[in-house]
Amino acid sequence: MSRPATVALNVLQRCFTILVLAGLSSGAVTADTRSLDTAFGPLEISGQPKRIVTLYEGALDTALAVGAHTVGAVITRGGNHVADYIKPAAGNINIVGTPGETNIEAVLAAQPDLILAAPRTSEQQYRLLSRLAPVVVPDIPMFEADTWKRETRLFARAMGRADQAEQVIEQVEARIAEVASLVRERIPADQRNATLIRWMPQGPLVMAEGLFSAAIIQATGFRPNSKGLIKPGRPHSEPLSLENLSGLDQNWMFLATLNADGDKALAAARKSPAFARLNAVQANQVIAVSGQLWTSASGPLAALAILDDIEAAVLALQP
């Protein structure tokens, strides 16, 4: 759409933000004002927003990790509520849609003062949401090793909690170092090739090396490899023919479904003769994981939960 309209909208929106903030917390208006780079241009926010709606799993994760107050979130893919790993932190949070579809009326009812949206939010959606509260849409290249850190920092700055974000990221990095040394200690360097697979009824999907959980795997010393089966810019391959499964055979396999239940996925996969003959399966080095956590989530809390999974798997190895 036209640029003047966008500018006008931005100006209106800033006025609105200031008005809201002035109304909510008289006296706090002079608090720090920061400018954020978002996918739809710079966005200025001041103070510490009190009613945050997250429309992206990575945003909810960050918000809870830095201790912000969230009043709405979207469900995780393949589930009916937020992902299991984050339920204890999120409590009985108000659901305002799915990752694909936002219920605008529910967002309005939550009366947000800040909306954290997913990368690739459409401009039309952005404009609509911007009429309710300032909207942060990350403008960060997806599927790179540090994508989650940059997103975490952006969202945290929007929430006025940049310091807490640095603390949490440090905590994750310390934990990565811990698990990485365990991996070095228990698994020989030439035994660390891995694949991350989502087992679908249609066939296995191999997940990209740049995907959040694959980046965490890599940081701990494993070497995820998708064997060039993924188109650039995509998070995973199409469901592959079972005839291609042997090409993905590695020392280790992390196996998920879209659902939470990794063990059920493993049971289903074991029935397939093409799966049963893989070296990773015969060596008993298949790790069943939750698809909600490993293939849909991102953020510092998800990183810690994934690291727990990796640690448990490595500790379970016979020394």
Binding site: N80, P201, G203, S241, D261, A274
Partner: protein, 340 residues
């Protein structure tokens, strides 16, 4: 009466060359199915493996992946081809196809419901698919009884499309209720023979065997009915009983096919269309030809499904729909509908 049975003997003899050609064609498709796939095992290596050279990976792919899906596709094609021919002959409507009329959708909805409720064993799915198909058949028969609908092929298909649409909407609703089951259901309703174990045949073959016995019993009276109900009654048949048996046979066949491969539409339309083009409208001749043609169509579609999207696979149901839709248009546009 005498002339009729003389004609029948003549018919099967005349049919021999066509049957032979169709049979050889089916063998070629089976060979293609064993040789071609979406993976790295090429047709050349497969052929070498089949002719005796040892190549464990290729042997695994052929024996454990391609062979089971070949057998399942053959049985599915057999069932759907016969079901289509029977249903068309009984309703005297060249468009009466289990998929188009909602029989497959009924079966698919029943299975989706079972998946939602937590079903997973192959046995349960088979029985559920049969019951769903039976309910779908019942609705079709009821629709043909509606004044004017039974005589108008296109209106019957419209009624079927309405029923299919309704069942599809209900299936979508089930997927919304439980996102966990949605994945499995979504895969299921597009139809596929990939990755299914041969064990699923054990639970469906008895039902197909029952259906085949019904078909044998009903072929002759059904042909008599094509002369008109009065003629059939004159020849000593009971139209009501025949309809019941045909309906049961169609339900068993479609239910079995759905349990094996999901609700594949258009197969029951394409197969009788081809056999009629070869052998004319007499049901006793088309049924024989359906035996090689049905499997060849489904298996051929499955081979295509592996090749067009490698290293992934296109769902089989998409390929059969792509083949079937033009045939449907051809029949409808042919101006005068062939009367059965």
């Amino acid at each position: 009466m005498n002339a009729l049975s003389a004609n029948r003997v003549l018919a099967s003899r005349e049919l021999l060359p066509q049957l032979l050609v169709a049979g050889i064609f089916l063998l070629l498709v089976i060979l293609a199915s064993l040789l071609l796939g979406a993976g790295p095992i090429s047709a050349h290596v497969s052929l070498e493996t089949l002719t005796g050279s040892t190549h464990p990976d290729a042997w695994f792919v052929i024996s454990e992946l391609r062979f089971p899906r070949t057998v399942i596709a053959v049985v599915t094609g057999l069932a759907l081809g016969l079901a289509g021919a029977l249903l068309q002959s009984m309703t005297r409507n060249p468009l009466a196809e289990p998929g188009l009329l909602g029989v497959s959708a009924g079966s698919g909805f029943a299975v989706a419901l079972a998946i939602l409720l937590g079903a997973s064993t192959a046995t349960l799915t088979t029985v559920v698919a049969q019951l769903g198909a039976l309910a779908g058949c019942g609705l079709v028969i009821a629709a043909t009884r509606v004044q004017g609908l039974g005589n108008d092929p296109v209106r019957l298909v419209l009624a079927g499309a309405t029923l299919s649409g309704l069942l599809l909407a209900l299936t979508s609703m089930l997927m919304l209720i439980d996102q966990r089951a949605a994945d499995e259901i979504r895969f299921w309703i597009t139809g596929s023979v990939a990755g299914k174990p041969l064990a699923v045949l054990a639970t469906t073959l008895p039902f197909i065997g029952m259906a085949l016995m019904l078909v044998l019993a009903v072929a002759k009276p059904l042909a008599a009915m094509s002369l008109g109900e009065k003629a059939a009654v004159g020849l000593g048949h009971h139209p009501g009983r025949i309809r019941l048996m045909v309906t049961l046979a169609v339900a068993l066949l479609v239910g079995s096919a759905t349990a094996l491969a999901g609700p594949l539409i258009f197969v029951g339309l394409v197969v009788p269309f081809i056999t009629r083009a070869i052998a004319g409208p007499d049901i006793r001749r088309t049924l024989w030809l359906c035996l090689p043609v049905g499997p060849a169509v489904v298996l051929g579609a499955d081979v295509v499904s592996r090749l067009v999207a490698a290293p992934a696979e296109m769902p089989l149901g998409v390929v059969t729909a792509l083949i079937g839709a033009p045939v449907l248009l051809a029949i409808v546009r042919a101006g005068r509908m062939p009367s059965l």
